[in-house]
């Protein structure tokens, strides 16, 4: 890839998701047929292949998994950094997050900053 830079678009649902973050909300979108809730929201259901319907705010984030990073992509040593895979109750899909506090799989987290990446705190 040798162009100077790329200007990506968020996509239709990406816009909605970012607007949600600005308001301190995590927005998902629900398939009217199978009920699956996509987070981040997606325009269509990949299984039913129809347009998803309602945007909904999702709640109750928890740690689905986490890892502790000691080296970066170039091999340089880092202060250990905890990255979590955050999911929401009753929702399929997840978001990456920087994790504060002592992580444990299955534990509830609190969202400290609504950004990309999220910052969450284990409660």
């Amino acid at each position: 890839m040798e162009v100077d830079r790329y200007v990506y678009t968020l996509g239709i649902d990406g816009e909605t998701f970012m607007q949600g973050l600005k308001q301190g909300k995590i927005i998902g979108r629900k398939c009217p047929k199978c009920g699956r809730v996509y987070v981040p929201p997606r325009m269509y259901c990949e299984d039913c292949f129809i347009e998803n319907k309602d945007y909904i705010e999702v709640h109750e984030p928890y740690l689905d998994s986490y890892t502790v990073i000691h080296y970066d992509n170039r091999g340089a040593r880092l202060e250990p950094l905890t990255i979590g895979l955050v999911r929401f109750k009753g929702v399929s899909g997840g978001l990456l997050a920087l994790v504060d506090g002592k992580p444990e799989i299955g534990r509830k987290v609190e969202i400290e900053s609504f950004d990309i990446p999220l910052r969450v705190k284990v409660v």
Partner: protein
């Protein structure tokens, strides 16, 4: 090429496209979904009916996402199914249809969704810059060429050998942009004149701004099914009767640029399979690949629809007009509809499919049509793909 091959008959029963535009808000996946959904709707199928999915896209670097086949899979309906991606540069779009065909023809799948997508606008300042590493690293790379350079040389050679003027070539752009004004999916339809083309900005002589197709984003999709079940879903299956594809050498400086021999080989392969002996008599409508106006003429000759050097004359006589003997690019082609590389090639196949089905609306050509040909071309003027369809 053997003609007594044993393969299953294949029909196209549905197609869909996004409108071609520049800088669309939708993500590549959303565009792929929109085209796929429309194709399934036209076919009267749901995703669960589809056995396998073929994805076509040109370099990952256009969208700026690596491994684009995988990236597009959920938008193209591929999740949990056999998915394959095809890529032969600009020839990809028609190769996507050909690949859809052989998944069914082989007997492996009954119903295939073939999807092509390209988003050209994320790359700045210009998507042409992604071609930096396709050149011979020793003899060509030091000049830092781009594809428009070498196509300009091809155009110049074609003009010189066949004694063709810029005015005669500009007529292609005039025709295709006019045809595109009847196409609801088109980005750049309209009435222009030969003078407009000749007065447009010189990019790489003899290529001027209105000689070349625009940068576009878009997606296209088609459904191909086994011949035995086609009539369950439609009264008008459109049969894939012949396919052909070739790759010439990358040593393009060693080739005669005035004539696309790689295309003649691909066309002969497709015609042999389709049983076509006299292409000019037997083919009713054609969509040759036209990212540049001279390419349509070059390709009409390679497709054996005109003798070498004869295409400009026939064009001037109206032979390739929408109401002519062999209407060429009735969709408006890449010059008029737009050029999201892989999607543009599949758009050509869809155009022929709609013409043969009689559902091309305002694009429908005047005369009755029974046999149509779509073609695409790419890489270092070396790849070509051809598909023949009948109603």
């Amino acid at each position: 090429m053997k003609t007594n091959l044993k393969y299953r008959k294949v029909a196209a029963i549905g197609a869909g496209m996004t409108q071609f535009r520049r800088r669309v808000l939708d993500t590549p996946q959303e565009m792929a979904w929109e085209a796929s959904r429309k194709a399934l709707d036209e076919a009267g199928l749901e995703l669960k009916d589809i056995d396998c999915v073929v994805i076509g896209s040109a370099p990952d670097a256009f969208d700026g996402v690596h491994m684009k086949g995988e990236y597009l899979a959920h938008g193209a309906g591929g999740i949990g199914k056999p998915v394959s991606r095809v890529y032969v540069g600009g020839a990809t779009g028609v190769m996507t249809a050909i690949s859809g065909w052989y998944h069914v023809a082989s007997g492996m799948c009954k119903k295939v969704l073939a999807v092509a997508e390209e988003k050209m606008s994320p790359g700045r300042p210009h998507p042409q810059a992604v071609f930096r590493y396709i050149w011979d690293p020793i003899t060509e790379k030091p000049l830092n060429p781009n594809l428009i350079w070498i196509f300009a040389m091809e155009m110049h050679r074609y003009m010189f050998v066949n004694k063709v003027s810029k005015e005669e070539i500009a007529l292609v752009s005039v025709k295709n942009k006019r045809n595109a004004s009847n196409n609801p999916y088109a980005q750049l339809g309209g009435e222009i004149t030969v003078d407009d083309v000749l007065r447009s900005e010189v990019l790489v002589w003899p290529v001027q701004l209105l000689d070349v197709s625009p940068v576009s984003d878009g997606a296209a999709a088609m459904v191909f099914v086994d011949g035995d079940i086609a009539r369950r879903y439609t009264d008008i299956p459109i049969w894939v009767e012949g396919v052909g594809w070739t790759l010439d050498n990358t040593s393009w400086p060693g080739r005669e640029l005035a004539y696309p021999r790689y295309l003649e080989n691909a066309a002969r392969m497709a015609y042999t399979i389709a049983g076509i002996e006299r292409p000019q008599k037997e083919i009713d409508v054609v969509e040759p690949y036209d990212p540049f106006d001279y390419k349509e003429l070059h390709h009409l000759e390679g497709l054996l629809l005109a003798r070498k050097g004869e295409a400009p004359l026939l064009l001037k006589e109206g032979y390739f007009d929408r109401d002519g003997e062999i209407p060429s690019s009735p969709s408006g082609g890449l010059l008029g509809v737009g050029n999201p590389i892989a999607a543009a090639g599949l758009m050509k196949v869809i155009s022929i499919y709609w013409q043969l089905k009689g559902t091309a609306g305002k694009m429908q050509v005047k005369k009755p049509v029974h046999t149509g040909v779509a073609q695409a071309w790419g890489d270092l003027m070396q790849a070509s793909t051809v598909i023949v369809m009948r109603n």
